[in-house]
Symmetry: C2
Subunit: 209 residues, 2 copies
Amino acid sequence: MIPNDLIIVIGREFGSGGRSIGHKLAQRLSVPYFDKELLKKAADSLGFSTDIFSMADEKRPSFLNRMVSQAYGLADGFSKGTLSNEGIYEAQSNVIRALAEKGGCVIVGRTADYILRHHPHLVSIFLHSPIEKRIKNVISRGEGTIPGKCKDFIQKKDRSREAYYNYFTARKWGSASNYDLCLDSSVLAEDEIVDIICHYAEAKFKTKK
Amino acid sequence: MIPNDLIIVIGREFGSGGRSIGHKLAQRLSVPYFDKELLKKAADSLGFSTDIFSMADEKRPSFLNRMVSQAYGLADGFSKGTLSNEGIYEAQSNVIRALAEKGGCVIVGRTADYILRHHPHLVSIFLHSPIEKRIKNVISRGEGTIPGKCKDFIQKKDRSREAYYNYFTARKWGSASNYDLCLDSSVLAEDEIVDIICHYAEAKFKTKK
């Protein structure tokens, strides 16, 4: 029922468990899982530069830098080495497209929902969770935030993801209408979320409307 | 597994099928269904004025009117008869709370997700759909829009709902993080959507996290 080349892309608030749920989903569907680290490895094996996933990791582009460059007629101020931010994004997009052509997979982050929006077998997910639950989650993962600063740390990460997403896609990060399915990941157990996503994917490609 | 007093609240883009899906969901769960018309009837039977659901039907409050009133130190410019917009909203909220106390039900619109946000057995849904699908849907429902103006009509309705929701709740209408579950209603058949929502509700109240 689920097509072999099903691509599940996951956008997520920081600390909402996207990585863990993505892993479980990939296991359930017996397909590869990709996040930043694994996209880097995949880039290498596909012959792309592995640096492209370190250069612009869902960080807020420097608008000021860009404005200055434009005002002075310089090359794009985002440039790092020989690639502009747009160039890095395009190179990342090429890796993501190449992987999607190889067959079904789960991809977390990096605006994959937008890059693959015309893929015929795409299911696009957004995971979110109340800030208190995410603080608990981040602390339990042992991510080295300064005690008492975890909320700021999470909110800063979210703002970066939002700015990166909105800049490159001209959509609004976390706005329901971008995605097939959005879920509060704190409400259900991870296996239940995986069940619902699989149920949705099955229904999506069974139903002719 | 599903609690007897389960309340399902549905926010929705105009034309995304919220009413029809809400009806099917209520049938499936054997609980009452409420939208504007039925809330009006319920208000009557609960002893509230039936006018309160006609007075402020998810319409954009008149900010200009308000600003003028405030500048001149008048009573709130929203006032209609003896009730301000806030007063009407509060009265509607009381009807919704009274219904939720009577037992399980499905409520469409009117910021019920916000009004009932502390209810222990709430499932909050947002339905959306691409504009082209909604145009088709609205035309097939025979809603009397001027030919060629359907898109404008839908977008105006959405803007009104958005302004109403954002004004009274201080949240962002259609932002995934407000809701338990958001779905693109054009992707699945209505019965499939009802399945997914029921599956979610069952999991929500089965799981202890």
